[in-house]
């Protein structure tokens, strides 16, 4: 039984409805049929009684005149082939004389003339007793003998001249009843065939949103921020309120999750930044010594073939280390000139060759103005990094849009390209070092950009969908005398 209750509402509601409808329909039909059964039996007996009374009137004369043949023709008439079917269900008629012997009957074979009634069978014998006990009255036998007998008295001038007995087979009303019952069942069937599908439809209409809500609640644990709030059920009933509550909850949880993600990411980037800066610092000091020593060797050491051969290796290796460390340190020390609109144009000029080489069509919208108060070098580096990335991503024949807008609040940079979008797995670690958005650089470009933007107190974010990737950088107004903190 528990299994039935475990069933989905999708089945349980329509099933319950169907069971209820079927039970009600069948109960009604059954009670109708029981009623019809009794009515039919009574009506048909009443019909029989009426017919019997008519016959009795016409039978007086033949009885009184002892005219057997006339009486025979009369009792036979209701059973002749021409009589309408269904109007009369008695099986036979027996005319009894005053001595309760058969005067004549519709079936001489079954009920021969002159046979005492008591000898016709048990039911007849019992009815005979009844008639003798109360002559001149109507009598009816019970159904248990296989026949129902209806005896009508024939009284002439207060003298009992006999009885007319109508013989009905037990269940004589069955054919008519079957007809009625069949029709009732047919109608029930029709009603059910209309109601059940409606019930099924409504049941499902109720159950499907509940089921969907349940599914969504299940998914709430492993929340996917992408999953949109549900508009499965646009109505305002209790279910609709449940959906609204769910949607509110979903939105709150999604917001919280996004926030957490962002915080985790920011923490990680900050930690990485500290780690990278620490390491770079530690390397930078000995590196300075090494570079100085190398210069000294180059200038003052006696010519030596081995040195001549390996010094350039050392020199190139150390230069590479310096470059990387410099990148990690986000060198921002000396150049603190404030940004001017011209600086943006310079970047354009600087990268024009690259854009041409890559056959990328670009558009510049320079409204940066000169009042941002931001350090020119850093902004330029950010712009260069992002535009270079965009040129790379756009590929041959691609388009790049660069927009720099200065305002009261600060400066906004937007760099857009129509190359391949950034895959999801990459997006998560996009601003971490060595993420490798492309194979060409050392993988520090975006990280450095991020570091700079962070240090300038701004924000950077990426949208990459529908064939467009846009990096937006917002920088608050700075002051010209800005100095990088010593720890970076």
């Amino acid at each position: 039984m528990a299994r039935v209750f475990d069933l989905s509402f999708r089945y349980k509601i329509p099933l319950w409805g169907s069971v209820l409808i079927a039970v009600v329909a069948l109960t009604l039909t059954l009670s109708f049929m029981l009623q019809a059964h009794d009515d039919l039996k009574r009506d048909m007996l009443a019909n029989s009684d009426n017919l019997g009374r008519v016959l009795v009137k016409t039978l007086y004369a033949p009885m009184l005149h002892d005219d057997v043949w006339r009486a025979y023709e009369i009792v036979k008439a209701p059973f002749s082939a021409g009589s309408p079917p269904g109007s009369f269900r008695a099986e036979g008629l027996i005319l009894l004389d005053a001595r309760h012997e058969v005067f004549v009957s519709s079936q001489p074979d079954s009920w021969p003339m002159r046979t005492p009634m008591a000898r016709l069978g048990q039911a007849y014998a019992r009815l005979d007793e009844k008639l003798r006990a109360a002559p001149k009255t109507m009598a009816i036998s019970t159904e248990d003998e296989g026949v129902i007998l209806l005896a009508l008295p024939m009284i002439s001038d207060d003298v009992d001249i006999g009885h007319l007995v109508l013989v009905h087979p037990a269940g004589f009303y069955w054919p008519r009843f079957r007809e009625l019952a069949w029709r009732a069942l047919l109608i029930t069937g029709l009603v059910l065939s209309v109601l059940l599908p409606i019930n099924w439809y409504w049941g499902r209409r109720m159950a499907v949103p509940v089921e969907r809500l349940a599914e969504r609640m299940d998914e709430l644990g492993k929340l996917d921020p992408e999953s949109s709030p549900s508009d499965d059920y646009p109505y305002r009933d209790e279910l609709g309120r449940l959906f609204q509550a769910y949607n509110r909850m979903h939105a709150e949880m999604a917001e919280k999750a996004t926030l957490e993600q962002r915080m985790v990411k920011a923490d990680r980037l900050a930690a990485l930044g500290r780690l990278a800066a620490g390491i770079a610092h530690e390397i930078n000091n000995p590196l300075g010594g090494l570079m100085t020593s190398l210069d000294t060797v180059k200038l003052h050491a006696a010519p030596d073939p081995v040195l001549d051969r390996f010094l350039p290796y050392l020199e190139r290796g150390l230069a590479q280390i310096r470059d990387i460390v410099a990148a990690l340190l986000v060198e921002t020390k000396a150049r603190s000139r404030p940004l001017a609109a011209q600086d943006i144009d310079d970047v354009r000029t600087l990268l024009a060759q690259e854009a041409k080489k890559r056959d990328v069509e670009w558009t510049w919208d320079n409204r940066a103005g000169d009042a941002s108060g931001l350090p020119a070098t850093l902004v330029r580096q950010v712009l260069i990094n992002l535009v270079l990335n965009a040129l790379q991503a756009a590929g041959v024949g691609g388009h790049v849009l660069v927009r720099c807008v200065g305002s009261e609040a600060g400066l906004k940079l937007e760099i857009e390209n129509d190359g391949a979008v950034i895959p999801d797995e990459l997006m998560k670690n996009l601003f971490e070092p060595f993420t490798g958005l492309n194979e060409e650089g050392h993988g520090l470009g975006l990280w450095v950009t991020h570091q700079i933007v962070e240090q300038l107190g701004g924000g950077i974010h990426v949208e990459s969908r529908d064939g467009r990737t846009r990096f937006s950088v917002e920088l608050p107004k700075g002051d010209c005398a800005w100095q990088p903190s010593a720890s970076v």
Binding site: H65, R70, E73, P108, M113
Partner: protein, 285 residues
């Protein structure tokens, strides 16, 4: 109700439409028809009228006695009577012609029982049983079996357990076929015709014995019938077998033709009637 379904020896007389024609010839028909066959009678009427030069009408009644009453009241000119009623009506009527059945002016009485009764060999075996009479004025269906019983030394009143009248031979046959009666005596002419037309009815019966021959029911006229018309009617009837139309009508009447009726044909039934006398009138209605 059953007056409609009706038979041979029952008196079939068609009411004369007295006002339609000045001097119609009123004919009461008895023995020949198994059913009401108006088409046949219309054909016969159409056949007779031009040959006789007078209108003809038929009169039909339900029992022999009704027809006999019409004769007594002179409301018929001609009648086709069974032989026993003829004998009883003798003072009022004159023999005209006797029909020929299978070329001979005779018929018989058949004693019949239900087909399922294989044991009955003669009338004597039916003692205490239920017996159906056709009509108290029927020769073959009443007078003859009672005469036979008397010859056996039995009283017709007490021999059978129960008797009743069916008022026609056909119905007597039905009563036996449907097992209402254990036996009946019927006219050979009716049984034979019915056997041809509705074998299912006669199939329910078995002929136990056939009586000797008796004169076939004759056509009679009133004593006062004009001689000239008498002769021309007799001639027309006797000439029916000579033309196609007449033969067709005769065939439908299940007879071959007519011969002048002779009183000796009916001598035997007359003596039987005398023997029966009036003493057993009680068996009548």
């Amino acid at each position: 109700m059953e007056r409609r379904e009706f038979i041979a020896l029952g008196a079939l007389l068609f009411s004369p439409l007295a006002h339609a024609d000045p001097q119609p010839l009123r004919i009461g028909l008895t023995p020949t028809l198994l059913h009401e066959r108006h088409a046949l009678l219309a054909r016969w009427k159409a056949y007779l009228e031009p040959r006789l030069g007078v209108p003809v009408s038929f009169v039909l009644r339900d029992s022999y006695s009704d027809t006999m009453d019409l004769i007594k009241q002179r409301r018929l000119d001609v009648a086709w009577l069974s032989d026993y009623p003829y004998v009883l009506m003798k003072p009022h009527v004159r023999l005209l012609v006797t029909p020929l059945k299978d070329g001979r002016p005779y018929y018989r009485s058949y004693l019949i029982v239900p087909a399922r009764d294989k044991r009955t060999r003669s009338l004597a075996d039916l003692e205490g049983k239920i017996f159906a009479y056709a009509d108290p004025y029927s020769h073959t269906g009443y007078l003859f079996p009672r005469h036979e019983l008397a010859a056996l030394g039995k009283s017709p009143k007490s021999f059978f357990g129960r008797t009743f009248f069916t008022w026609s031979h056909r119905k007597a046959i039905e009563a036996v076929a449907q097992h209402l009666a254990d036996g009946a005596a019927v006219e050979s002419y009716v049984w034979d015709a019915l056997a041809r037309e509705e074998p299912r009815v006669t199939g329910g019966t078995r002929i136990v014995s056939r009586s000797r021959e008796f004169g076939f029911p004759p056509l009679v006229t009133l004593k006062a019938f004009p001689e000239k018309t008498f002769q021309s009617l007799r001639r027309v009837l006797m000439e029916m077998e000579r033309d196609v139309q007449g033969r067709e009508i005769l065939a439908d009447l299940h007879i071959n033709g007519f011969i002048p009726a002779k009183p000796d044909l009916y001598a035997e039934v007359e003596s039987m009637a005398r023997q029966a006398g009036r003493q057993d009138d009680g068996a009548g209605i």
